[in-house]
């Protein structure tokens, strides 16, 4: 299954670069220790470097915006650089959010869509079936849009019960919930890997690092860490595609998706909107309509 995806990616990428349709392809490769990591291919001879398996958990859309900007700096005036990106269904939804927010144009990206079989858990290889939790509950096999699709959409059985986690934390009495989050945030090292790995976090200056006014102290203490994560989760309302790149990037394995999923569920309940799920529907919090009413 993944072999077919990998072969499909290489064939497609080789052609794209040979024909000069894109100047750079963002995919995955094996690092020197055998782990998969993001790869940037500029020459069709390097297409063979690209791999795909169920450990390719990076959301490569996070690189697209800056890559296009970097290429544009060195490009002929008037020409528009184009990049190709290997993307799973959740990645494409985050790309869709960026397109709606005017960060990337659809024309500047060639989407090599992956018919996704679900990923293996990045941090916990002993997880049930080895399958990442968010993938076990995901019904999305084919991206909402793509320029090429690789792999055959697999049939995956999704459990009937609700995705665990959020409800359990919500059921905790306030004091217990505070203790839970305090304990989690305590080991945060404020490295911002979650933010940097997130396609939707593209602010030029993050509120957590703003100097004037200095909203958040430079201290690495629980209040600052908690504020940062909660603030980030709110700023991702209706924008988080649930790809879990943040959790995969976290060096201390914080359960950040609990926050994101909670807010995604609220947005879906209020607006009937799933981030990037429809190419034609803009994100609700970035939109205001004449007939808009607060659904209270």
């Amino acid at each position: 299954m993944t072999q077919e995806i990998e072969t499909g990616i290489r064939i497609r990428v080789k052609k794209l670069l040979d024909l000069g349709e894109v100047s750079c392809v963002i995919g995955h490769e094996h690092g020197p220790r055998g782990h998969t990591r993001p790869a940037f291919v500029y020459d069709s001879a390097d297409a063979e470097r690209l791999v795909w398996d169920r450990t390719c958990h990076h959301n490569l859309v996070a690189y697209v915006r800056d890559k296009i900007a970097t290429l544009a700096r060195g490009a002929e005036p008037g020409s528009t650089p184009r990049v190709a990106v290997v993307a799973r269904p959740c990645d494409v939804r985050s790309l869709n959010v960026l397109i709606h927010e005017g960060q990337v144009t659809r024309e500047s990206v060639f989407v090599v869509g992956v018919a996704c079989p679900g990923m293996l858990d990045a941090g916990d290889p002993e997880a049930q079936d080895g399958q990442a939790l968010h993938c076990r509950y995901c019904t999305e096999r084919v991206p909402v849009f793509y320029d090429a699709l690789v792999g055959d959409p697999p049939k995956v059985k999704v459990p009937d019960e609700p995705w665990p986690g959020v409800a359990e934390v919500e059921a905790m009495p306030p004091a217990e919930r505070l203790a839970f989050w305090t304990q989690e945030f305590d080991r945060c090292i404020r490295c911002y890997a979650c933010r940097q790995a997130c396609p939707a976090c593209y602010c030029f200056e993050c509120l957590a690092e703003q100097v004037d006014p200095p909203w958040v102290s430079i201290a690495h203490r629980v209040p600052q860490k908690a504020f940062f994560h909660i603030m980030r989760a709110y700023h991702l309302a209706g924008r988080c595609s649930g790809c879990q790149a943040c959790e995969a990037a976290c060096p201390v394995h914080l359960p950040l998706s609990l926050l994101n999923r909670k807010i995604a569920a609220e947005v879906e309940a209020l607006f009937g909107y799933v981030a990037g799920a429809n190419p034609d529907t803009p994100p609700p919090l970035a939109t205001f309509r004449k007939d808009e009413e607060l659904p209270l």
Binding site: P38, H58, D124, R187, Y192, A193, A197, I218, H220, H253
Partner: protein, 328 residues
């Protein structure tokens, strides 16, 4: 060399807790981290490499440099209390050697960082030799090894179910004075060296590679997060800012804080006028490696890397410092 059982070691540690803060590896969810422990029973002896280095016990993530209180016309300034002793138990050889690097960078040449120096002075290091090398470990490329006792006060080696104890410094000797562990005549077990030794190029070779395009290619995947610098045992950059913590009529309380900062961040080198001498990821990533292997050895006689491999494990994008050393 002396020998002790696990139980006797725990009992000894529990007596030391009465005199000093005991910092030791603990299991916290999926991580191993150095944390203060209230009982030796809480120590995770099966730890491998902690996710974050123990440098924070010398150079804290956040510390109050100065506490300033103003009441009316009266201003009172206070420094942090750095009086208590701490015992860092089960420090790995690489992390202990990292403290020698920090000594060279922060203390040996005046003006010394007095906060670091005082914490260093009041801390005793009890090393625990690594039983093996783990994925990413490359201490043997930096002139050390999993059983290197050169930077600790007292060294422990796994010995069956117990430990062999080697006294390295007077500070270490004082720690075990009066303990009835018997002298034994057997060498410490030799851990297997599983990592290939990579040669570290001299500073001038790095300078010759300054303009290579490889830095651009390497930086393609770098996300500009701070993970590598914060888990690193020798990265020591910080920011200082005054926090207004309380204010009222005639009353102001300000704390001058120092907190970890990272050269990987675009804002790190931003200066007046919005200029930035390292505006691109490639320049920042290159600087991190040059700081470790070119500038620090050239200016402070210390390669600022001990081969702990944490940055390799922590990097969400797969940047690998050994790959850089190999010449990519």
């Amino acid at each position: 060399m002396r020998a002790t059982s696990h139980e006797s070691l725990l009992a000894w540690l529990d007596t030391l807790i009465e005199r000093s803060t005991l910092v030791a590896p603990q299991r916290v969810e999926r991580e191993w981290l150095y944390r203060p422990v209230s009982s030796a029973a809480a120590i995770a002896f099966d730890f491998q490499r902690t996710t974050v280095s123990p440098k924070g016990y010398f150079f804290p993530e956040t510390e109050v440099l100065l506490d300033i209180e103003r009441r009316g016309r009266e201003v009172v300034m206070g420094e942090p209390d750095l009086a208590g002793d701490q015992l860092l138990f089960a420090i790995r050889p690489c992390d202990a050697r990292a403290l020698l690097v920090l000594d060279a960078l922060l203390v040996d040449r005046p003006p010394a960082d007095s906060y670091y120096a005082r914490r260093r002075e009041r801390t005793t290091l009890v090393g625990l030799a690594c039983p093996q090398m783990w994925d990413g470990c490359f201490c043997t490329s930096l002139g050390s090894g999993p059983a290197d006792a050169s930077a600790v006060d007292l060294m422990l080696y796994h010995d069956g179910d117990g430990y062999l104890v080697e006294t390295v410094t007077d500070k270490g000797a004082a720690l075990v004075a009066g303990v009835d562990w018997p002298e034994v005549d057997r060498p410490a077990p030799e851990p297997e060296i599983t990592a290939e030794v990579v040669s570290v190029r001299p500073p001038d070779e790095w300078l010759a590679a300054f303009d290579e395009v490889v830095w651009q290619r390497l930086a393609d995947r770098c996300l500009s997060c701070h993970a590598c610098t914060y888990v690193c045992p020798t990265c020591r950059c910080f920011d200082v800012r005054d926090d207004l913590t309380a204010a009222g009529p005639g009353y102001v309380h300000v704390q001058r804080l120092r907190a970890w900062d990272s050269c990987m961040s675009p804002a790190y080198r931003r200066i007046a006028g919005g200029h930035n001498p390292r505006p691109d990821t490639a320049q920042r990533l290159r600087n991190r490696f040059f700081c470790k292997f070119c500038y620090s050895p050239r200016d402070f006689c210390a390669v600022a890397c001990v081969g702990c491999g944490r940055c390799i494990a922590a990097c969400p994008a797969g940047v690998d410092i050994v790959e850089v050393l190999r010449g990519v």
